[in-house]
Symmetry: D2
Subunit: 288 residues, 4 copies
């Protein structure tokens, strides 16, 4: 979702207590912030309060570079809050990792080119040269960094170097078929979004369409999630499914699956760009 | 689906060859059968031909008690066909197994009472007394047969006795929470339909809603399948899903899941009654 | 959703201003109410604030019979709020209207009998005798009140009399095929829930499955809504759909549609019982 | 679906009679054709038989340029069949019409560029210059032909000229916002595919998302159909929906709708390319 150019977003959670919501909205209101968006959720079993609030900074009295400090001092410490503050005019910078399939890549780049997302995409990294023509259509830098068991650490170092050089804030694995090391993932905790071509936790790992076909399921799915060191086990962001029948060969599952994968991945990426995802205990709160 | 009173249904499969479909339809046509339904499917990887054909017997020249023999001799042996022949005027006889939850039971009995299904339901068996009032509302015999680890074999023998006495042709486990023994299952191969409250193969076994909640999935499902000696691993008949969010507690998953379970189970039961399911290699061909 | 026995629910809307949410939550908190549920929504185009808040009354300092007055005086007038206050221990009383089809009726009664809903169902009214056996299964009073063009006013008067006598607070038309007069509807504004067997506004009026089949749509639906004097045009509460194909005859659309109708209707009824629907300008805010 | 390079496809319908299926399969088999695909459907109310059969021509004894004649003479006339014969090695040639929105256009071109479809796309026509950059990314000719009430006939003549020059066999309106004249449509009967951004027949015509929002529906949809002289009333090919809530502004409906529109349109286009759609009496038989 396109954000108003001059807003701040606060994503936060803390132990639930009466009055938190009032205190936070008061903080914004009394300093002349205009609240544009507010969504809160209380996990009553764990007694945790979560909130996303977005407000217009135009008349806001606290200078941008002080908001974090003031909020921390005046509100957060009193409620043992964990929070993250974002400014809409600071666009996230996304790197796409891709292997040989183009469908997710095209879907991301089409939205980007159409100006649907407030994001920068300076960089595409691949372990194959195949997708270079796609990158060229959109005028984006494309780096081929082939990975094998032997050179993995070295190649990941190259990748991290590139990401750092381009000020990348999050990565999107668009059917990237290499498994990232725990070390790599540590550089981007809850900031690497992957699309897995099954309805997790069913058929994690390799060849999920073949496994689904073998099992004779009547529904296939795709799952977008943040990457953690547990393969295909990180916090799920979005999932969707489609019905299949005995008539569908593995090839048809793959084909039907492509539509699911690209939509589910793009939705997750959009939510991330819009600062609408809060990862907590291997699950996500996805604000609408 | 309500079947015409006087039809025959043939469900068959065999190694694929040119001309099978023509040969079978010819057999029916030349003996004055009027084909009402025909659906065929060729699994081209395994080169197997599957077909369901239903025809009106009103003017059919071969006597009912000879059809199987003639078909076997004239067609089936030539093509190494496996087939099953059913007559619409011979209603299947269904026993329902239930534990303490009423939603699936009510859905089955409501359709039965409304005359939607060509089936007889002489018998409900439970390991608890709770559902007796539901059985009474519909005037169906209700037997309480509690099962423990120690008495399981003995109690299953009682159940099988009852099923035999009532001429039961298939069983429906309507959220029946006991695991049937391999021996029991052998009495009704591909004739025991279970509803599992997850989207198999995810969350097989106990407490799938708790597991789904823990994993933070964004979609839950229900699966109907034929029971085999592998728990929750038999051929899947139908599945459906619904979207959930972080706001849904386990209690809400259970509630949303009830609607899925009862619809998915009833759909599977209907397909079975209509002779529209062919189980093959732990998967099902479900004719429309 | 089963509500805690001793809670209050406030459904309200008013012109949006900063601080409303804080003021309301403050009101509850300072009088020792424990907030169990809070959902708010701001329609930014029309600048209207909507909220549903539910709180535990156990330690609440304002006596139940005074809450409305205090809230009105202290909060509502200042913000020009429209609000409704409900107590969980006062169960709504539902009358079901039915004609000749049992599927929706059974679904409602099954949930009722299973104790899923905090509601009383003292009464079923029908223009035909057919469904009496269903009412008898559940031990609910059944009244046959046949309606024709000539006797409509008189028969509706009888119905209203019965509803009044039984303290009915809302009505559910479970595939009731008579059109209620504007006068009747005025007795229960936004308190008559109907299920229409199409995806409104497509195929309003009679025989929607025939019309859908004729049009060759590939998806059919069902719509639950509050009844207004405009036929099938009242505020929509919930809708759902299912895919169909050229193979589906009208009879099959009707069959597939039954599952949609009963689930969509029951969901709407549940939301109403839970005080989760706010009708505004011919639309509904449905709190989760 | 990618077709085998050397196959023939027969799409046919005729009054239903016993034996048609056998006769057609016999025709193919006896001349050494290898049947790869067969799907048939009998509309029992109208007594019409429909079939799609595809077979490998590699060993087929009838020369390609004679197949139509022989089939007509030997089979079609005897059964009063209407049929169309296609060869997989003759790719359809598609022209895309677009206005200012890129999402459908990108989805079509991404699949094309990835080689998913057996089709040629020589030409994109638009009434605006905006999408030229997209056409350039994919190296496809782009023609701006602005249309007003006054110049419509003349501009359509230009368009038809271009289509003829490029040997276009079918057109795809990818959110093209001009209404084609009856004369234009006559040049491509059932060969112009449009995507309408609503769930037809609801909200036909202009601004369907605004109308849907106003009506307060809880589900929005998209519909692909063949264009006829009745606006938004031609035979429907595919539809899909997504759930919405009171929280969704018109802008969000438009955004959610984009994903539906592009998938539904691409699916329809694929079915058309694969010769899997048979239009009959303003409806479609869509073979799987």
């Amino acid at each position: 979702m396109k954000q108003n150019g001059n807003t701040a977003v606060l994503l936060m959670h803390c132990p639930d207590k009466p009055g938190i919501l009032a205190v936070v909205t008061e903080f914004i209101n009394q300093h002349k912030g205009n609240i544009l968006y507010l969504d809160q959720y209380v996990n009553r079993e764990e007694k945790v309060f979560f909130m996303r609030v977005e407000w217009d900074l135009t008349l806001f009295q606290i200078p941008k570079d002080k908001i974090e400090e003031y909020f921390e001092t005046l509100i957060a410490v009193r409620y043992s809050m964990s929070f993250r503050l974002y400014f809409a005019d600071t666009k996230p910078r996304m790197a796409i990792f891709v292997s040989k399939m183009s469908h997710c890549l095209y879907d991301l780049l089409a939205r980007y080119a159409a100006g649907e997302w407030e994001v920068e995409i300076p960089l595409i990294i691949s372990n194959h040269p195949d997708m270079e023509s796609v990158a060229n259509r959109f005028g984006i830098e494309y780096h081929v960094i082939p990975v094998t068991k032997e050179n993995k650490a070295e190649q990941e170092a190259k990748q991290l170097e590139l990401l750092k050089k381009h000020g990348i804030t999050f990565c999107v694995l668009a059917r990237y078929m290499q498994v990232l090391s725990a070390d790599f993932i540590d550089h981007y905790p809850n900031r690497i979004i992957n699309i897995h071509h099954s309805f997790l936790p069913a058929f994690a790992g390799a060849k999920p369409y073949h496994a689904a076909h073998e099992r004779g399921v009547k529904v296939i799915g795709a799952t977008s999630h943040y990457v953690t060191s547990d393969l295909d086990a990180g916090p799920i962001i979005e999932q969707d499914v489609t019905h299949i029948s005995h008539k569908d060969t593995v090839e048809e599952l793959i084909k039907k699956g492509r539509d699911l994968e690209k939509i589910v991945l793009s939705h997750a990426v959009e939510k991330h760009i819009d600062r609408k995802i809060l990862a907590y205990k291997n699950r996500t709160i996805v604000f609408q």
